[in-house]
Symmetry: C2
Subunit: 269 residues, 2 copies
Amino acid sequence: MSGNAREPGRSTVHRLLTLLDVFDGTDLSLADVAERSQLPLTTAHRMLAALETWGGVERTPTGRYRIGLHLWKLGNRATSATTLRETALPLMQDLYESTHENVQLAIRDGHHALIIERLTGLRAVPTLTEVGGHLPLHATGVGKLLLAHVHPELLAELHARGLRRYTAYTLTMPGRLAASLATTRTTGIATAREEMTLGSASIAAPITDATGTVQAALSIVVHATTDLTRYTPALHTAAKEISRRLAATGGRVRSRSRLDRLSVASGHI
Amino acid sequence: MSGNAREPGRSTVHRLLTLLDVFDGTDLSLADVAERSQLPLTTAHRMLAALETWGGVERTPTGRYRIGLHLWKLGNRATSATTLRETALPLMQDLYESTHENVQLAIRDGHHALIIERLTGLRAVPTLTEVGGHLPLHATGVGKLLLAHVHPELLAELHARGLRRYTAYTLTMPGRLAASLATTRTTGIATAREEMTLGSASIAAPITDATGTVQAALSIVVHATTDLTRYTPALHTAAKEISRRLAATGGRVRSRSRLDRLSVASGHI
């Protein structure tokens, strides 16, 4: 992997990807970028200039750098995330409307749950989550739902790394967490009550592909005092309908998006 | 700009960015990527391999390439798009709930309107738009709203390039389009009735920053037979509230997202 003088191109590609990864959503100075990416100031500057011309980074009024709109657009062409999102959104809308609570859609991304879409209203309980953000697998509804359906080795890995105790209710003991996940596999529902944030609770149901494999988790996040079981039927119904649509029309969402782009790319406007 | 033997690194950066730009949301073979990017097959293969390791592209079961989740995550760190989206979403939710129609949020991106967020339900009129997709400035509600508030030179440029006639109702004559945009500047509302798609109409209101400059457009897309004026008060109210929140709490959305990432990046989970 390490670049060297005999492979200048390869080395440059890796350097550029390393540089992109230092952006965490905050605005960074040239010195920040160089330090975080461990690149010489001149190299970082040259790459940032090329990225800025391309639109992948943009400058703030004070001259700092941040991820630009061009990368946002490119990221939206990630088929797996956008197909799932486009398929789930109408059902998530209905679920939001019938509950007025936070509705979340997540997939597993390594050792975390990754939020693909999130709906929230003015009256819903505040959450820290955002689209593209991560949540712990062991302390949230979507996380526990996803964790319950992966190879047990991952659970062992998480325990080996040490499970963070967010609140007094976070399940960090191997036996208790395993029992909770076993319940999820039986009932098809995962719940987390104040396990990540005091005052909040969540309930999640699985979204499966045509083979029945769990691909994503759909959840509702509510005040901790809420009776979670009242949401079970609506959540299951929405998750099952999303699963059916994913299996039946996975290709349709893509071809529609292609049509959309063609109408613009035709250059008549 | 052109890379050469004396600037191998710069050349490589430009090649990589060119390669990324060939992805349009469809799955591409190695040959497709090489041809579209006009790179030698070996160079394209080497860059795709590095991108795949990084997660920026992923392989389909048949070995084709597509944009991967890592780029989607990186794109979501584009502060300008995510701050606007996070601020607007609760109001867009309320608007959807009170109308059950498509609710869209767009900004100007060069010669097009770029969809930042879109809510839709099962009963809304079907649209071709998707998040990250483009719409014409001269033939949609959001587009005309944005076009009405930019420098007149852009309108002249669009006319010079030739305005595409999507339907018999598309305004392509300079005088008629200019009159429609003038009305928008007076009323604060842009409408487009079957100007892009037969059967659909849209109405848009401006989202402004603290200085009163139009930054984005909020719209509702409905069946063409609908009386658009019934949506004016709700749309104006939502757009003004989003504008107020953007001005007042633009920084808050960002710092919240930073908090979210820190809790994950701390490595305790």
